[in-house]
């Protein structure tokens, strides 16, 4: 497996309080799902992978580069596509301008920007709305434009924080198809939706209170479900809930 993200002994948090402590993790090509309740530390971890916040301690390597400074972070950011959960845009931008702006931010070579922007806009199914203002789009379309912005320039690491929120079922299917089609790319997907994980993730981690309670394939997570009736409608949901409940029981 080609390692795209490697963290060791990662401690991360705000001020002096640690949200994540002593995490070791390697992420290679394919889709890596992060499941966990609110406040589990998923977004904090994604922001760390995005090199927005430096680790409080431990090391982080992105596409083979250890990130130890702002300068090193800027270099690897060319390879990172990031879609925050609550991402922003200038309402007056057209879809094309927004994607091109994000390409510019990522320093995609100017000769490639137009072609790259058009391609990802096509991939998310917004070709016919390319010139439409962002403010005129529906919530689902805005989200798709955001995904296009994260994918423009073919970054090697794509970080998606709750990307399917606001998408209707058909759009979610399209999204899954799109993510599956990404080759030579590591995708880290933070989500609440277990079915997204089941559909597209090669590997999944369940996070709670900044710790990984589980790491393995979706099939292995399903296998965590207790025999008989557990909480949840699908094997994966039951496995996920079982992992979380074990932690809760352990805490008691």
């Amino acid at each position: 497996m080609d390692t795209v993200v490697r963290v060791s002994g990662l401690t991360q948090g705000y001020g002096k309080s640690a949200v994540i402590s002593g995490l070791d993790l390697d992420i290679g090509h394919g889709v890596f799902g992060l499941l966990g309740p609110n406040g589990a530390g998923k977004t904090t971890l994604l922001r760390t992978f995005a090199t927005i916040t430096p680790p409080l301690s431990g090391t982080i390597e992105i596409v083979g580069q250890e990130v130890t400074s702002e300068r090193a972070a800027r270099l690897v950011r060319r390879q990172i596509g990031y879609l925050p959960q609550d991402f922003g845009y200038h309402p007056g931008f057209s879809v094309y301008e927004f994607v091109r702006y994000c390409a510019w931010l990522r320093e995609v070579p100017s000769a490639r920007v137009h072609e790259a922007a058009v391609r990802v806009i096509d991939q998310v199914g917004l070709s016919d709305r390319m010139k439409a203002k962002m403010k005129s789009l529906s919530g689902g379309m805005v989200r798709r434009a955001g995904i296009a912005a994260a994918l423009v320039g073919s970054p090697r690491l794509v970080l998606l924080d709750e990307p399917t929120v606001g998408l209707d079922p058909a759009q979610r299917l399209e999204f899954r198809k799109l993510i599956r089609s990404l080759n030579n790319t590591a995708v880290v997907l933070s989500t609440h939706l277990v079915e997204d994980v089941a559909a597209i993730c090669r590997e999944v981690a369940v996070m709670s209170s900044g710790e990984f309670l589980f790491q393995g394939s979706p099939r292995d997570l399903s296998a965590q479900a207790p025999s008989g009736d557990g909480v949840g409608d699908t094997p994966l949901e039951r496995g996920y809930m079982a992992v979380l409940n074990r932690r809760t029981v352990g805490e008691r």
Binding site: A50, F87, G88, V113
Partner: protein
């Protein structure tokens, strides 16, 4: 470059552009028109709109810079590979472009209306740069404030009004010298002060591009480190404060200019009236004044052979030299009348002192001075001119000037005798 064009297209100032142009022309032509045809005054006048635009640009820059946070883009900018200063500079440049283009149009219009009648030379770039520096200083300050404010209105209003107050209260030529009100040819912008302004503009631009908001208010630490960020802010702040201190101590905005080799003088012998070559357009009026001096009653006055505009003989001891104020020859007429009065004092008698300086003497001298000024000026006083020396009724003297020559001579002779009595007893 592409982002610059994008920022330009989405700048709020694109809607305000026509209004700014109108404001520019109103500021240019609304105050007065006597600057037309005289390069230093044209240059100062062309710089005046910057006084108004600086506040507007500060507000616009604050509004534009605040959009990043208002539109929730901080997180995406934080993960940008592109250095933050490029992102900020593109935005600030777009705002500045609108301000500078409008300002440039005003400068071009001012130059084009002056060109047909102006003397030698062209626009004085120092005054134009003074306006540019003013615009850059306040646009950068506005950007700096706007980038740290999420409010759509508080930042821009604070910047707009704050800038107006700062420029009006502290920007006068005698204080920080942020702008010039007028520009006589005998003075020029101090290069030291101008360089100070340019350095301040540069530093504030650097600060606007470098001292940006941290990626998110929830983030407690960044790669740069809190201490390094604070150090950066403190160093830039210290530099800005020291440059402002430099501006305060750099002396006056306008300093004397060296005299020209060849002043522009009236023709036709003595007495000559000489002005700066830049004031060439006043020569016809000066020629008329010369002719009127020649028509003064013979033998009553001693008229110096040459009258100089201030600065032509250097600025020392230039009290006898006239100054063309607001494009009117009234002040030169008063100054020239004073010089004639001084030259015509009784020879061989001491200056009157103590009880010999009677009210009668003072009034006679003042009335005669005003009468002479009115004769030289061409009768009467300029419109809007009120008051005059103490106890002198300008209208009464103006009526004297309209009387037949004989009556005027008799009136003047009475006052000359009073003066002579005070001098020689």
């Amino acid at each position: 470059m592409k982002l610059y064009w994008t920022e330009l297209r989405r700048s709020p100032l694109r809607w305000w552009f026509p209004l700014l142009l109108v404001l520019d022309l109103v500021a240019l032509f609304g105050r007065n028109l006597w600057w037309i045809g005289e390069w230093p005054q044209t240059s100062a006048q062309a710089q005046i709109p910057a006084f108004y635009f600086a506040s507007l640009l500060a507000a616009a820059a604050a509004w534009a810079a605040g959009r990043t946070s208002r539109n929730n883009l901080d997180e995406q900018l934080a993960v940008a590979a592109r250095p933050g200063w490029q992102i900020e500079l593109a935005q600030l440049s777009a705002t500045l472009t609108y301000g500078l283009v409008v300002y440039g149009v005003g400068v071009a219009v001012a130059a084009s209306v002056s060109l047909p009648t102006a003397g030698p030379g062209f626009l004085w770039p120092t005054y134009i740069f003074l306006g540019v520096a003013l615009l850059v200083i306040f646009a950068s300050a506005g950007h700096l404030v706007g980038r740290r404010s999420r409010s759509q209105f508080a930042g821009p209003v604070l910047c707009g009004l704050g800038s107006l107050v700062i420029i009006s209260w502290f920007g006068a030529p005698t204080a920080l010298g942020l702008f010039a009100i007028s520009a006589a040819p005998f003075e020029q912008v101090s290069l030291l002060v101008l360089v100070d302004h340019c350095v301040l503009a540069f530093l504030l631009t650097v600060a606007a591009c470098l001292v940006t908001r941290p990626p998110s208010s929830s983030v407690g630490h960044t790669w740069a480190g809190k201490r390094r960020r604070q150090l950066r802010v403190i160093s830039l702040g210290a530099l800005v404060v020291s440059v402002i201190a430099g501006m305060v101590t750099a002396g006056p905005l306008q300093v004397p200019r060296s005299s020209p080799r060849q002043p522009a003088c009236t023709s036709g012998g003595s007495p000559k009236v000489c002005v700066w070559p830049e004031d060439h357009k006043y020569l016809p009026q000066a020629q008329e004044m010369q002719d009127r001096m020649r028509r003064l009653p013979a033998g009553m006055f001693t008229i110096p052979t040459v009258f100089y505009e201030r600065g032509l003989r250097g600025m020392r001891d230039s009290y006898d030299d006239f100054y063309i104020m607001d494009g009117s020859m009234w002040d030169p007429s008063v100054t020239i009348a004073g010089s004639i009065m001084a030259a015509s004092r009784p020879k061989g008698c001491p200056l009157p002192i103590g009880p010999r300086i009677t009210d009668q003497f003072k009034q006679a001298e003042a009335e005669l001075n005003v009468w002479l000024a009115m004769r030289i000026f061409g009768g009467g006083v300029p419109a809007g001119m009120h008051g005059g020396p103490p106890n002198v009724d300008l209208n009464a003297v103006a009526r004297v000037v309209t009387q037949p020559e004989g009556a005027q001579v008799e009136w003047a002779q009475q006052r000359i005798e009073t003066i002579h009595h005070a001098f020689c007893g």
